[in-house]
Symmetry: D3
Subunit: 331 residues, 6 copies
Amino acid sequence: MSLKIVTLGEIMMRLTVAGRHRFSQASDFSAVYGGAEANVAISLSQWGCEVEHVTALPKHDFGESVLKYLRASRVGTQYIPRKEGRLGLYFLEVGAMQRASRIIYDRSDSVFSQISAEDFDWDEIMDGMDWFHWTGITPAISENALQLTRKALEAAKKHGVKVSADINYRRNLWQYGVSPVEVMPELISYSQLIVAGQTDLENCAGIQEDTFEKSCEEAFHKFPALKYITTTERNSISADQNELSGILLTPDVSYKTKVFQMDQLVDRIGGGDAFIAGLIYGLEEFGEEKGLDFATAASVLKHSIPGDANEVSVEEVLALVENKNVGRLLR
Amino acid sequence: MSLKIVTLGEIMMRLTVAGRHRFSQASDFSAVYGGAEANVAISLSQWGCEVEHVTALPKHDFGESVLKYLRASRVGTQYIPRKEGRLGLYFLEVGAMQRASRIIYDRSDSVFSQISAEDFDWDEIMDGMDWFHWTGITPAISENALQLTRKALEAAKKHGVKVSADINYRRNLWQYGVSPVEVMPELISYSQLIVAGQTDLENCAGIQEDTFEKSCEEAFHKFPALKYITTTERNSISADQNELSGILLTPDVSYKTKVFQMDQLVDRIGGGDAFIAGLIYGLEEFGEEKGLDFATAASVLKHSIPGDANEVSVEEVLALVENKNVGRLLR
Amino acid sequence: MSLKIVTLGEIMMRLTVAGRHRFSQASDFSAVYGGAEANVAISLSQWGCEVEHVTALPKHDFGESVLKYLRASRVGTQYIPRKEGRLGLYFLEVGAMQRASRIIYDRSDSVFSQISAEDFDWDEIMDGMDWFHWTGITPAISENALQLTRKALEAAKKHGVKVSADINYRRNLWQYGVSPVEVMPELISYSQLIVAGQTDLENCAGIQEDTFEKSCEEAFHKFPALKYITTTERNSISADQNELSGILLTPDVSYKTKVFQMDQLVDRIGGGDAFIAGLIYGLEEFGEEKGLDFATAASVLKHSIPGDANEVSVEEVLALVENKNVGRLLR
Amino acid sequence: MSLKIVTLGEIMMRLTVAGRHRFSQASDFSAVYGGAEANVAISLSQWGCEVEHVTALPKHDFGESVLKYLRASRVGTQYIPRKEGRLGLYFLEVGAMQRASRIIYDRSDSVFSQISAEDFDWDEIMDGMDWFHWTGITPAISENALQLTRKALEAAKKHGVKVSADINYRRNLWQYGVSPVEVMPELISYSQLIVAGQTDLENCAGIQEDTFEKSCEEAFHKFPALKYITTTERNSISADQNELSGILLTPDVSYKTKVFQMDQLVDRIGGGDAFIAGLIYGLEEFGEEKGLDFATAASVLKHSIPGDANEVSVEEVLALVENKNVGRLLR
Amino acid sequence: MSLKIVTLGEIMMRLTVAGRHRFSQASDFSAVYGGAEANVAISLSQWGCEVEHVTALPKHDFGESVLKYLRASRVGTQYIPRKEGRLGLYFLEVGAMQRASRIIYDRSDSVFSQISAEDFDWDEIMDGMDWFHWTGITPAISENALQLTRKALEAAKKHGVKVSADINYRRNLWQYGVSPVEVMPELISYSQLIVAGQTDLENCAGIQEDTFEKSCEEAFHKFPALKYITTTERNSISADQNELSGILLTPDVSYKTKVFQMDQLVDRIGGGDAFIAGLIYGLEEFGEEKGLDFATAASVLKHSIPGDANEVSVEEVLALVENKNVGRLLR
Amino acid sequence: MSLKIVTLGEIMMRLTVAGRHRFSQASDFSAVYGGAEANVAISLSQWGCEVEHVTALPKHDFGESVLKYLRASRVGTQYIPRKEGRLGLYFLEVGAMQRASRIIYDRSDSVFSQISAEDFDWDEIMDGMDWFHWTGITPAISENALQLTRKALEAAKKHGVKVSADINYRRNLWQYGVSPVEVMPELISYSQLIVAGQTDLENCAGIQEDTFEKSCEEAFHKFPALKYITTTERNSISADQNELSGILLTPDVSYKTKVFQMDQLVDRIGGGDAFIAGLIYGLEEFGEEKGLDFATAASVLKHSIPGDANEVSVEEVLALVENKNVGRLLR
């Protein structure tokens, strides 16, 4: 597929405790890079799209490491300023059985949070693009990042670029004095496709309804540009065992996939990003119903792969949609 | 909680085969220290109790390593003599699927087995203490260790210290010419709380009844000081999948928790010790019913953590009791 | 058991990606040696049989490593020529959840594929032997290997050696211009026991029937020497979770074991070889019904053990047949 | 030795790239905790001193991990407040051959940098103590940390506690608007023993002389309380090969040790801290000349041990002073 | 530097035995990709050149992995056909002390060896390029690869592209029936710069003189286009300790660097490639004398870095040229 | 070479601390099996001798592992009883720089120490053998082991088998009430070749002379059967750097090899065993002078190889004798 896509967002170093140990037992960490939007970028690039990722990176070696990581997956890096400062990072303790997974964030004051709208010429970036993807994490980071998102969205609109957003409400962000309901509705209004659950809609769009369906109805009403609301339903039986299904609503129709059993999860980080990447790809290639199946299957497969990125091919995702090769040994 | 607790027992080095290999394939071992009673000590210390652990350790570096390990968890080490000799150890092959886990013990002639009652001033140790915990492993090791247990129990009684015991009958111990039924009843008679299953009661208290309930009735009759008999019911579906529930009996009432599904066990060693620690803590803090829930949940969480020690907080155990956060990703 | 057994077949280096990573993420590989027939040899040798494995190995160090590996398990190596050339190898990406496991073969032009019938004196090899085991992989490799198999089978017949064969049809082999249906029926005709599923019978014996049972009936008709057809039924719920049962047919009777649940598979490579080894041993020791139980239980246990070889004792297999010790902690 | 010692300073997580890789190749890190002053504390505690370390730690799990680490070595932790915020950290790329080792610091805005003088009752802390050790890193971190150091020094003077300081000038600190020459002379004036090289004296005491000896003369003149200036001379032949000698000056005498060849360095972090700990211990136990030998030998041995802490006994250091057991195999 | 460079050559997977073990003890391998010419490409790309690498890769996942590897370092991959077949590979046993390092090659019949001159439009590739680098390994692999080299060189000449060659005579290649002296002189005649020692000149250019200097004189005579002959002098004291110096000859002048001591080598594979990359860069940027220093220092640093690629910056190489920062700890 | 050799001695599990950590930091151990005499057996078997190793092993899995280990190297295991009891083991902390390596032995009460002379039919074992090798470790272990050694030596004499002995005086053995000078002279008197230094001769043969040469003179006088006294001279510059030379004395001549520099030692355990194996082989194949060179070169190479066994070929040893290939990269 030859879709041209821009993604915007912070990339962090994830430091995962080795060997099922707890933070208090940790002596070894494995490091990967990732970020909600960059994860989407990598999925789409691997599936044949031309993707540019917009972010800021520190001048030190880990900045270069992130560039290497993006380039390896053919994600464009030409709009990435290098700045003095730190790379955001977080520590992950992987849960087991009933014991929950836990994250210690250490992302404040990263170079991305200090990014300035002036660092980018959005007209140049958006020119000729088909799609722009952002998430609610970016405006939650800092006033600067909020302005940057706004500028990007204005340019996307000006250049006729379709917009998708993962609302992704995070209570522990939004620390800079602005409430999401004050600013997110405007940003959402630029978007044709959003990933949002009921609480996201409540916290970021100020929509309080009894059911998810009613909240969506209200959202379609409130945001005329909006064509799709999508989400996944996750049932956490244990840290190792989840169930996942995908939901897609238009103002007229709603779709729901079957429930995928996910036993012995390998890595759940990036599962949501794999879903939205799958939906962007799937809607274009396969339409609404099969597109949702594709997105959900892509997300399921992500849970079997270490790291943030969804290292699967279109063929592998389609095989799962058709329930082929499941758990087999392919010689 | 400010309970003051004494525990008594051997600490060994556990050498676990790396990477699901069998003993016959083993080339790498990871080492942790642990012992049934020290595991209880660490749990209780982490939950805020003041705990002294009484044992003996070799003079060489691994003796110092054990001290470091105890001190790290704030377990008191002032009553631990260092002696010429060896540290008991055992090798663990972790099972998988239907294949059972296996242990090769190599604990004979350890410094603990040669410990002498004269090495300790039990009056000093028990003075001001609230609780003393011992297990049936100690008197099973050697004549010396039996005498030591007896002295400790006499002192506990003298100083009004409550006593708990994990009967823990092990056929491959008791090699020094004494049969458990000859000596255990006397030791048990000092205890207010015991962990015992039906076979434990048969082998160590000489109680042979048709059902566990009847055996307990008989035990309450035989041991007037006894207030609680407790045990866990474990169903081993496979080496990776167990079911666990907790049972607590008083002379009047009996409690049983729900059955916890434990899939993808990480480390079952210390699961029973986590239970009894949870019960000591739980009875004091929450009473009988919730105390048993707390104990069982603590034991379940232990199965998700590598090593002998139960590295969980009171809050985490209580969350599982209330079925909160199970298998989630806590940001 | 004092059965004297000859096995024939290629041994390869298996390079397994470490840590659940995909090929595209691989930076570390663990290496083991194995081959369908050698895996059978090792099982039988460990259970007390006298086994000679016939193969060819390169002159370089990995050839010596394979010899060490065989000798360690008491498998005879006196009929193994060392030749200039390469050791066949393959890369394994271990699947997870719905994601399938995958193999990249790199075995062409190995020294085994260039093996010559003249390298061996089959009269000497077969003399005094009780059993000869071969698989459909060998004649699929090269014209030379086909000739070699034929010579071995002729000698087996001449010396009154019983013959078993794992048909094991592999589409990606058979590249040297011969179709299996042209040559396999003759080779099969020497065998008293074959492992074959319906597709194997179709592709290698040219038998096309509606059901496996009918195909077997036809096979018994077509191959008068044949006494047993056996196979396993595997249900791949996921890469980590399979179900397995064993089937054994004679011209008169058919047996099927219960279905074994295999959760959290450790290593499925060699599972089929463990089965046929178990059946050869089981038929001799326990007869048809219990022999099949033994074979299936042996195969189940193999799935819990890293590497190609089934490092289990007869006692462990029998315990599983009787559902003893399952998933326990044996002190 | 029963010296009672207080140390003050930040503790960070050190994340060392595994396996001689560069930052740009890093995927695994090993984590240890350490800090210049805490490293001194641990050395002295292991050699029998009673040590309290004063610092601040975050409320999250890594704060608890640091406490565990200190307690394991018997370092007192009663004056350590837990605060909301981050733990300072740094990444280490270990050099090889001519290639230098490199550090990426990520310590800004740590809880320690936000520590307040009001968090501590220095009268209580210093009461009954024999020695107080601080370094020039602490006042370099933040205005708060500067005030804290000043309060500590005032209390030390008031309570008659001896003071040692490692001047340790770091250009990349001192970012909060104060120049070291403005404030360090006052702080140094409280100290009886300082570790300082010629550039330290220039940058922190404003002393510019032609030679180190003259600078020291000037320093003794400027700081009447000062009895000892000490330093190590390190010759970096390569990242793996250094030469080290120790120097100690009093107003009257100067001592220099022999040059120790250090080939195949294991870990040079903490080498200076091992030296000053050795000198504090050595001056008390052995006097000036042998004390300096002890300090230098302690530092040499530190370079052979992974981690920040110098895990050596007094006996081992003394053996090296006497050139015994060097590189032997002690059975 | 904005030099535009083309490199041509095979890329293999290198499987290095983990942990100083011998092949006969090997159970774990780490995998990196590399090839003499691609190593040069990566060095130059990292230093700012625009580089296209020409090769052929298999269709399976490891082909994609190689592309990822090249892209990560900004090496252009647009002229790389993907073909059915295998990736060449080799196993490396790293020596220690007097014990030599050893390689088991397994590269025959790789897709690169079957590459066809028709797979490439050399006019398109060479157009606008400044430099073309090849090595004597390529024509040694197969008749096809020889033809390909010839076509590339003809196109280079036609487009006025400067040519460098690493003669790199390997006795164990050249197996396809052609002798190097028959074909290499023609190929060398296109080159302005060659890396060659005395034996290379003898085996590949048929030049037999008493000394390297005389051989070079003869070579300049025989190959009029040749401006530079260069080589390194390596003294292998042990597997861990080498000495290295660089030599550069023009028809008129000769340069030799100082001797660099290399103790505790980390990885010597790619050391020669780092040298030639350094010389290409150095001659353009710094001229002959300093260029040779740059090349030799680059090669020295390579020996300190795991993997084939020389992950160093121009600044780091220049620092070593000026003997700065050697073995230091750069904070 | 077709020499038939018997060796006698205990095999232990060696547990080596991973990653240069100290015992007090150890959490991972790698396990190998070895023993002074078995190490000799493996060397000689790899060089073509027919070797039987006599020992006793426990019935549990590690006993089987030792058998696998011996069989892999073609060492005969037919005279090895399996007994109830433990396998001796020891822990090794590998030194670094000036820091010495250290061993914690845990070998008491092993099955070997309880071995009985009645367990073996020495007439059968010695029949047809050429050489018997024992060490002073065996009689030092227990009264039983002493008797066993005596019986073996008597049988060797009776069957005309040549005898070599590594005197190997260990102060921390000989704990069972017998002094080496009481029993060793008789045992030594059976031997034609002994490895002994001056202190060995003093402690085990009661020979006190000023110099090693004089002690040897006296030994040749005292033990008429003795033809060779040999030893190595080791200079421990650091744990990583040793110098080694070999010495061989006959009653008439004395030989000394050059001094081998051993930098960056990989594993020194088994270095002496490699020497004596080399001398047994070398004397037979190459005579006294070259035999000593062979022995010393074999020992040097052992220091470059992890584990107890000397995994080198005769060709590799000879290459080092001739100073060929030292530290090279052999393609």
